[in-house]
Amino acid sequence: MSFFKRNKERMMVALVAIILIILIGVTSSERMALTKFEIILGNILTPIGKVSITISERISDFFSGIKNIVNLKEENEMLKKQVSLLEEENRNYLNIIGKTDYLRNELRLLENTKYNLIEAQVTGKEPGNWFNRFTIDKGLKDGVEKGNTVVQGIQIDQNTVIEGIVGRVVDVGDNWAKVVSIVDEDNRIAFKIIRTQDGGIISGNVDGRITGYLFDDKADVIKGDKLFTSGLGGAFVKDIYIGEIESVISDDNDLMKIIEIKPAIDFKKIYKVFIISD
């Protein structure tokens, strides 16, 4: 026994290390639900995070407000031009809808397939630069489930317009949930290009870009093509805007077309998100 007594401290350190490694091994495979302890800890820490993130949002808004004053006039003029342009475009579309019964039916279909959205606030972001994850303040009590798709949207007269996809819920507690965003390396999304209906897969990168490849190397893609989720594999809800293509690199050796995507959302500034619950 004297061996154990002499090396008590080292034994303790080794014991802690072994326990942690076992913990990593056990939790690395897909788990069904969180343990009780995790849920309780999350319940306590979520309100604290909510308060402090609201404060930091105000502060950063204030500073960016000051920065923007200089550009306001220019921006105003540009926006006015844009509004008139959009109005004209809108009139054209309305014309088309009015003319065709077929399109009217499709519009009705689109209106009926509304998602059930839950509004949530971001309460904290994962420290460190390896992954891109955050927590939100809605959980099991509000109907959030593991695997739900998270999107960002704008509320206009009780109607929510979905701006783009943010990520996926990976773990749920009572009143909080963990979300993995699409710029994370861990996430892979099946997409389709709205113009040509070509499909492929994209994933995040450690340096914050999103890259992917197309299933068909002869597919016709150009810069500026819009990407939507295709719903293949069932991980994400179908037909949600992801972003547009920033560059296309064709690799003749690998017989692949690699694309780089500019997401619709600024991932550095997410405060409020919507969860699509099925």
């Binding site: 990593i24 939790t27 820490l45 604290i48 420290p127 450690v206 340096d207």
Partner: protein, 166 residues
């Protein structure tokens, strides 16, 4: 007293790191406040408190954010323990010590993280990570190490006795 400070450090660190730091990132890279706090704690209070703080901070981070539990706890626990082993051998007035330790600590943290991710079969290129993230993070961390070390030294170093008025 020590426990009160520990709790305070854990809470303040968590709030700053998860809410404010993402908004003051440089080139999209955030500093690692938890690592710096653990290193400073270990320099002043030795391996026991250093490793204990590392373990607590790491477990909370793991539970709140990552699907795999234990990676952060493991890395921060050993950071606290290893730095704490040096506690009696280093001069605490020298500012060079925390800077050097924070550089070594950042490299150690990210390299160990990479090894774990490799065994968890996450396909991440370490070279691209080093080029885009690790370099900036190391600089950011060693700049930030100075104020954090100062705060800890205010708490732990007893005030000098002064005679008469200054």
């Amino acid at each position: 007293m020590v426990i009160l400070i520990l709790v305070l450090v854990v809470l303040v660190n968590l709030i700053l790191q998860t809410t404010i730091f993402p908004y003051i990132s440089v080139f999209g890279v955030e500093p690692n406040l938890a690592l710096l706090a653990v290193i400073s704690m270990a320099i002043f209070k030795g391996r026991f408190y250093g490793s204990f703080l590392g373990l607590t901070l790491g477990i909370i981070q793991d539970i709140l954010f990552s699907p795999v539990l234990g990676v952060n706890s493991f890395i921060l626990f050993f950071a606290g323990y290893l730095v704490g082993l040096l506690e009696s051998k280093i001069i605490k007035d020298n500012l060079f010590i925390p800077i050097l330790l924070s550089i070594l600590g950042t490299i150690y943290y990210n390299f160990t993280y990479y090894i774990f991710m490799f065994f968890l079969s996450k396909n991440i290129s370490f070279i691209s990570f080093t080029r885009h993230v690790l370099l900036i993070e190391t600089i950011y961390n060693c700049v930030l190490a100075i104020p954090i070390y100062k705060i800890f030294s205010k708490i732990y170093v007893a005030p000098k006795i002064r005679f008469g008025s200054k």
